[in-house]
């Protein structure tokens, strides 16, 4: 059984770092959020944030390498869902990842901003032994 701090696991998912796996990731996030009672707009924001976080792992952490492992664990803690995203890429300096000014119109650089807007919390945490990075996102179920 999982410790309370970690919440009750709904599902754990493993995929490789490929763009064509994101559909499956989105389907899982959507169904897990729905089954936890989230409304359609809340489900949608959770899907957006996790998709963008996975994209960043695919493009930046793994640099486009298609065979990196991505582990997403979705759990519930009281009235929140926790999205715990782990990769096995080289550890990144989280301080360099910051959303850009979105009032400036240019292509790219929106992912981090979307994640921050769509989740209540999104922080890098010490990864489990052997892993590279761990992004911890939470959002209240509404």
């Amino acid at each position: 059984m999982t410790a309370p701090e970690v919440g009750e696991r709904i599902v754990e998912l493993r995929v490789q770092s490929r763009a064509d796996r994101l559909r499956v990731v989105r389907a899982v996030v959507a169904e897990a959020a729905r089954s936890a009672g989230a409304s359609a707009p809340c489900v949608r924001d959770m899907v957006i944030a996790v998709d963008e976080a996975c994209q960043n792992v695919i493009r930046h952490a793994y640099g486009g390498r298609p065979d990196g492992e991505i582990i997403l664990q979705i759990s519930r803690l009281d009235d929140r869902l926790i999205f715990d995203l782990v990769d096995f890429a080289a550890p990144v300096d989280a301080s360099v990842i910051r959303p850009r000014d979105v009032t400036e119109v240019r292509p790219g650089g929106l992912g981090t901003h979307f994640i921050n807007e769509c989740m209540d919390e999104a922080v890098f945490r010490p990864p489990p032994a052997g892993a590279g990075n761990r992004l911890w996102m939470t959002k209240r179920i509404e």
Binding site: A19, L22, R23, R44, I48, V105, R106, L110, G111, F114
Partner: protein
């Protein structure tokens, strides 16, 4: 994801259907830049967009900016609710010309 291009009185209507994501947005980007590069006015029909991510939005921004540089018209029509949420997140709902009907869009680009 489907990306269909048709002509309405010289205006390229690019109809997107399905999920525009990291896997599929390169095709959208290519189609949009082709149309804009040919100096055609472009209206992107987004009524069928079930999902669009930051890479899809980046494709729209790139086409929009390329169009501006060459004085070509670029607009979005019938933006689905799912897509509108993402445009709002990107603060682009005030930047793009967004029309609720194709007729309005065609009037605006003078097609």
């Amino acid at each position: 994801m489907d990306c269909e291009i048709r002509d309405e009185g010289g205006v390229a209507i690019v109809a997107l259907t399905g999920d525009v994501d990291l896997e599929t947005s390169p095709r959208v980007r290519g189609a949009l830049l082709d149309c804009v590069g040919a100096k055609r006015s472009v209206l992107v029909d987004m009524s069928g967009v079930s999902y669009i991510d930051s890479s899809g939005v980046a494709s729209l921004v790139e086409a929009y900016q390329t169009a501006r540089k060459s004085n070509t018209k670029f607009g979005l029509v019938q933006v689905s609710e799912a897509a509108m949420r993402v445009l709002e997140l990107a603060r682009l709902d005030r930047v793009f010309a967004i029309h609720s009907t194709l007729a309005d869009g065609l009037k605006d680009v003078g097609g």
